[in-house]
């Protein structure tokens, strides 16, 4: 019985200890959720600013954070990988009154690709 408890504790410890290194970190929760700005490299800061303004006009950043962190688009359940980012960017751009231009979408797509790479790192 005791050994069982020890075993259980060991298993739990391993389970808890495993996922410590967050690849793509987010800050805040719910409406205020965003990517952790400290992980955005200097040359992507501009794109990050665009994303922070343009991609929260119709919904919160939570959708994008989850898509990147999980690899799955949260609404449609479709894969959210590097081949898909552009199509999502285009979809958002083509929405009525998206108030975005191509250049902005391009920057955000690049940023999402960078974040996906980061997220996939072992």
């Amino acid at each position: 019985m005791r050994s069982l408890k020890v075993l259980l504790a060991a298993v739990l410890l391993v389970a808890v200890a495993m996922p410590v290194h967050a690849k793509v970190r987010s800050v805040g929760s719910g409406d205020r959720m965003n990517f952790d700005p400290s992980q955005i490299p200097a040359d992507m800061k501009g794109a990050f600013e665009v994303m922070k303004v343009k991609c929260i006009q119709c919904h919160t950043q939570e959708r994008t954070v989850i898509a990147i962190q999980t690899g799955i688009a949260p609404v449609t359940g479709q894969p959210f990988d590097k081949q898909a980012t552009k199509a999502y960017g285009v979809k958002m751009l083509r929405k009525p009154k998206s108030n975005m231009n191509r250049e902005e979408v391009k920057q955000v797509v690049n940023l999402m690709n960078y974040l996906l790479d980061e997220a996939a790192k072992p």
Binding site: D36, A87, A120
Partner: protein, 462 residues
């Protein structure tokens, strides 16, 4: 001054109105919103009008189309762990995704609960797929001999829709309550009317998706045949397009009424939609038939795949799409089982839907030929033509203005023209207020003339 303004405003609101015939043919389904945890704007402009993705969702039997399995873009990168400092509880809930794959196919995300396996095994959607749509309407008809102002039209409908294991989709609209002149379900199957409340069930159909792994979906039940590009409910305004709603003589056929039918439809080559069906009308010994074809140029394809646009080059074509459609319906009806006087008729139609950024133009033409629409002796053959053109402009995502011109040429002479401007406003995505004005110029008969109608409708769906 202020008082006068208030009075004018009040009277404007009061005379605003709505007429029965067309209210509340809602298909906006909050049940889908709940199941997929997304907003109405995913599929609608202002509900119940569909945007291009709503149209895809409907065509595909209420499943987000999966890209082809061998398409490299569909293979998710090694799924990334859910980590970080965000609100993980909320993230996990969001990951319960959209009901297409089995929970086995969808690898569980680290630490995230899967979609409920028991529910999946049972074929059940994750949420109870029910919702309600309710409309309050007022109309003012300056031509009516009495009861010019009618505030007493209201309707409540129960809506349900979803999919069992991505195989069998269902859709149901049941009219719970309707008051006023509102005609809940102008039925093409009038001989069904004898059992009590036969008209309450407006639509109830099942769709066997991708039958035997082919692109064909088979749809059966009480449904609106795929004829027009726009289902009856797929509209921003209040009144229906004359091209789908007109009827001839005593014939009860209109192209937008639900019927007892079996339909096979399919998206071919991503941009072509074809449908064909048979309709069973009670009391008839042979079935009726119809076919539809439509083609989409530009925009996302009928499977929801985005156009591959060049992000380095500005082009107006990227914000444009055009859908062309055509249909034919062949049928026959009579006014009673006992009668030998049958009406053989056919209806053909051609339509166009053009979207350029926030502007939209819909043009529709229909022609019906009846050999005995009044079920009379001797037969009175006639052809009826109808034309409608509507321009819409979306000022903001919650405000759309529209203007429509309609012309109806009944076979027995004269014409009816309608000029219909209107405005639809949705302060919240599930709540909308529509104001519509109709000027009708009718010279089919010397006793008819010009008339004006003011319609005001408030609708909520939840």
């Amino acid at each position: 001054m202020c008082k006068r303004f208030t009075r004018q405003l009040l009277s404007a609101i009061i005379i605003g109105g709505f007429i029965c015939i067309t209210v509340s043919k809602s298909d906006a389904i909050p049940a889908f919103s709940r199941e997929h945890n997304t907003e109405c704007a995913t599929c609608h402009t202002i509900f119940p009008a569909l945007n291009e993705y709503g149209n895809v969702f409907m065509k595909n039997g209420f499943v987000w189309t999966k890209q082809k399995k061998d398409d490299a873009s569909t293979k998710p990168a090694a799924k990334n762990a859910v980590k970080g400092e965000g609100d993980q509880e909320k993230q996990r809930n969001k990951e319960v995704s959209s009901g297409t794959a089995s929970p086995k196919e969808e690898e569980p995300l680290l630490g995230a609960p899967r979609k409920s396996e028991p529910l999946w095994l049972a074929g059940l959607p994750q949420t109870v797929p029910l919702s309600l749509s309710a409309a309050l309407n007022a109309s003012y008809n300056d031509d009516a001999s009495y009861d010019k102002l009618d505030l007493s039209t209201r309707a409540i409908s129960l809506l349900a829709g979803g999919v069992f294991r991505a195989k069998l989709a269902f859709y149901l609209k049941y009219n719970l309550y309707a008051e006023g002149e509102f005609d809940p379900a102008v039925s093409n199957t009038p001989l069904n009317a004898s059992p009590p409340n036969a008209n309450d069930l407006q639509e109830f159909y099942l769709v066997w998706r991708n039958t035997f792994d082919t692109p064909v979906n088979i749809k059966a039940g009480r449904l609106q045949p795929a004829l027009s590009l726009w289902k009856k409910s797929d509209k921003v305004g209040i009144s229906d397009f004359v091209t789908t709603s007109f009827r001839v003589g005593a014939s009860t056929f209109s192209a937008d009424a639900a019927e007892d039918a079996i339909e096979a439809n399919a998206v071919l080559f991503d941009r072509l939609f074809v449908a064909a069906g048979v309709v069973d009308r009670n009391g008839q010994d042979s079935n009726e038939g119809y076919g539809h074809i439509s083609l989409k140029i530009g925009g996302a394809d009928f499977k929801g795949k985005e156009p591959d646009i060049d992000l380095d080059k500005e082009s107006i074509y990227d914000y444009m799409y055009l859908v062309l459609g055509g249909y034919v319906y062949y049928g026959r009806n009579s006014d009673s089982l006992a009668s030998n006087e049958r009406n053989y008729f056919y209806r053909t139609g051609a339509e166009m839907d053009l979207v350029i950024k926030n502007a939209r133009l819909k043009v529709a033409y229909a022609r019906e030929h009846d050999n005995n629409a009044d079920f009379a002796v001797p037969h009175d053959e006639q052809s009826t033509d109808a034309l409608a053109a509507q321009a819409e402009y979306m000022f903001t995502p919650d405000l759309i203005a529209y203007a429509r011109y309609e012309l109806l040429n009944p076979g027995d002479g004269g014409s009816v023209q309608r000029y219909i401007p209107g405005i639809a406003f949705a302060p919240i995505q599930n709540t909308k207020v529509t104001f519509e004005y109709q000027h009708v110029a009718d010279n089919t008969d010397s006793s008819n003339g010009d008339s004006n109608l003011y319609l005001l409708g408030i609708r909520v769906a939840f």
